[in-house]
Amino acid sequence: MDTKTVKDIAFLARIRVADDQLDSLAGELSAIIGWVEQLAEVYTEGVEPMTSVVEMALPRRDDEVTDGRCREDVLANAPDGTDDFYTVPKVVE
């Protein structure tokens, strides 16, 4: 993994990485990816990927409102809340 790849991934993950850290991070991540690549030697032809360890169908419930009307609770931890809203930097020009 080169520094450009790290930069691209960091952008996808929305994590700012200082330029002077890109090199060492590329080294660390490459080592981990190189290590997990040992899985390539496992024969997995015809094996179904395991997405859940619980052998049960996804439970369903009636489509009813069971929660809500707790605006204060929802907004209680907003780092920069104004009135009844979350605020973010301007996104519409």
Binding site: I9, I15, I32, L58
Partner: protein, 494 residues
């Protein structure tokens, strides 16, 4: 009196409370004093004396009014700071959750609260439960009460290191932990206590800060197997708010501790005899085999051929799920916000500053293995190997009832060791990770001391939703091991 109270097991404290030998307030005060005396162990991120004394007084009142009390009623416990607690700071040991005070309670901690348990505080952990040493906490490392050794402070293991240190250091009678790849069992082994990871789906994950949703599971950390059985009984149960919580009855786990394991078939997986494993670990494992045989069990060699691929599988699956789960930390709705000119810049600044080095590494790995062009080669491949690992266990359990292995490849190491590269640290979980990948219950039981005089655990793994057999075998193992060593620094004081 006070030091006697902090040495009790849950079962003993239950009896003492029932007979009126002491009150929950007295029991709770003794533990709050111990916590205050052991502040530099750094086992707690937040101590909650007001809540504790209020709940203890309420417990005493219930009892005096003749209410039928549960086994956990009035028992002081510590809560890993990964469980959301109503009105109490919840950090996941991360800078990015600065100031986060949930307006709701996790189901597991709510069940314990409703059973009368008394929360004394929130314990330290590796940031977002990512680690095996407690070194990645934003709030600083926890010191293992068994240290220092050779002049160096020891890690308590991780990620539930604060919980393990609190229980071992007599700062609480028990603690809740979570286990994604060994985070209950490995610190239990390092601190000489019992740690149980139940079957995936046994306990609700609702209200637990998510790390890897297909692996995370809450469980009890205690000083005896009986206590773990008692506590799990109060934590477990179906919860409609967690779609992966299993709609199965909660058995009386304590009743499973019959002490009788005659005829039990115990699997010994040869693949767990790994290169570079300390000789004393293997010796202890052989002792465990002999103990169980002497108690009437039959040991059988079993093969789990994909074991050697478990760690690599885990380090694709867990970061992938983490990168998705941690997307919610964006500086908008809770926690830290670092300003930026644009929305994207605010996200990047917040997450760049808010996540520590290990969390950042894992989110980036997860993002990479899920990204277009790499998904099949890494993530899909790992899910397939995971299926093979689970199949290995499934086949083994056709011939055996439980599997016995070491819990960790070493005893507790010094703070600062194994930091050369991330993979060295990851190897700590070599014996515990396969259980999570397969969703099985596993318990670590303190079984002996290393040459350096530090605790070592043995692990028992069971069939899905057969914690009863795991507890029964663990009870016999505990009895035979007769582990009665204690950290020489007493109540975690140094």
């Amino acid at each position: 009196m006070t030091s006697l109270l902090t040495n009790l097991s849950i079962a003993e404290a239950r009896d003492g409370l029932r007979t009126g030998d002491f009150s929950s307030v007295e029991l709770t005060r003794a533990h709050l004093d111990a916590i205050e005396g052991a502040a530099d162990a750094n086992a707690f991120i937040t101590v909650t004396p007001e809540i504790a004394l209020e709940r203890a007084a309420a417990s005493d009142e219930r009892r005096s009014e003749g209410g039928t009390a549960s086994s956990m009623d009035g028992i002081p416990i510590a809560v890993k700071d990964l469980f959301c607690t109503e009105g109490v700071l919840t950090t996941a040991a991360s800078h990015i959750l600065d100031g986060f005070v949930p307006t709701y309670e996790s189901i597991v901690s709510a069940k314990l609260r409703d059973a009368g348990a008394v929360m004394v505080g929130k314990t330290n952990l590796d940031e977002f439960a990512m680690g095996s040493s407690n070194i990645t906490s934003y709030y600083g490392p926890v010191r293992n009460p068994w240290g220092p050794k050779d002049g160096k402070d020891l890690v308590p293991g991780g990620s539930s290191g604060g919980s393990a240190a609190a229980v071992a250091g007599r700062l609480s009678l028990a603690a809740i932990g979570t286990d994604t790849g060994g985070s209950i069992r490995q610190p239990a082994s390092f601190c000489g206590i019992v740690g149980m990871k139940p079957t995936y789906g046994r306990c609700s994950r609702w209200g637990i800060v998510a790390f890897a949703s297909s692996l995370d599971q809450a469980g009890p950390m205690t000083r005896t197997v009986r206590d773990a059985a008692i506590m799990l009984g109060a934590m477990a149960g179906h919860d409609p708010k967690d779609s992966t919580s299993a709609p199965v009855e909660v058995p009386d786990f304590e009743a499973a501790l019959t002490g009788d394991i005659r005829g039990l078939r115990v699997g010994i997986p040869s693949e767990y005899r790994i290169d570079g494993m300390a000789g004393e670990i293997d010796t202890l494992w052989q002792k465990g085999i002999q103990w169980l045989e002497a108690a009437g069990a039959e040991t059988v060699e079993v093969s789990l051929p994909h074991t050697r691929y478990a760690l690599a599988t885990y380090y694709i699956v867990a970061p992938a799920e983490a990168s998705s789960n941690l997307a919610r930390y964006d500086g908008v709705r809770f926690g830290l916000r670092v300003a930026g000119e644009t929305l994207d810049e605010m996200y990047r600044n917040t997450r760049g500053e808010g996540f520590g080095a290990e969390v950042r590494r894992r989110v980036l790995i997860g993002t990479y293995v899920l990204s277009a062009g790499y998904y099949d080669a890494y993530y899909l491949k790992a899910q397939k190997v995971r299926a093979l690992i689970a199949r290995d266990f499934h086949r083994a359990f056709e011939t055996v009832d439980v599997i016995l292995t070491p819990t960790a490849p070493s005893d507790a190491f010094a703070i600062g060791e194994k930091m050369d590269d991330p993979i060295t640290m990851y190897l700590n979980d070599v014996f515990t990770v396969p259980t999570n990948l397969a969703g099985l219950p596993g318990i670590s039981v303190p079984a002996g001391l290393s040459a350096r005089g530090l605790p070592l655990g043995l692990q028992l793994i069971g069939r899905p939703f057969d914690e009863e057999t795991v507890f029964r075998a663990a009870g016999a193992l505990e009895e035979a091991a007769g582990f009665d060593a204690r950290p020489d620094s007493g109540a975690g004081g140094r």
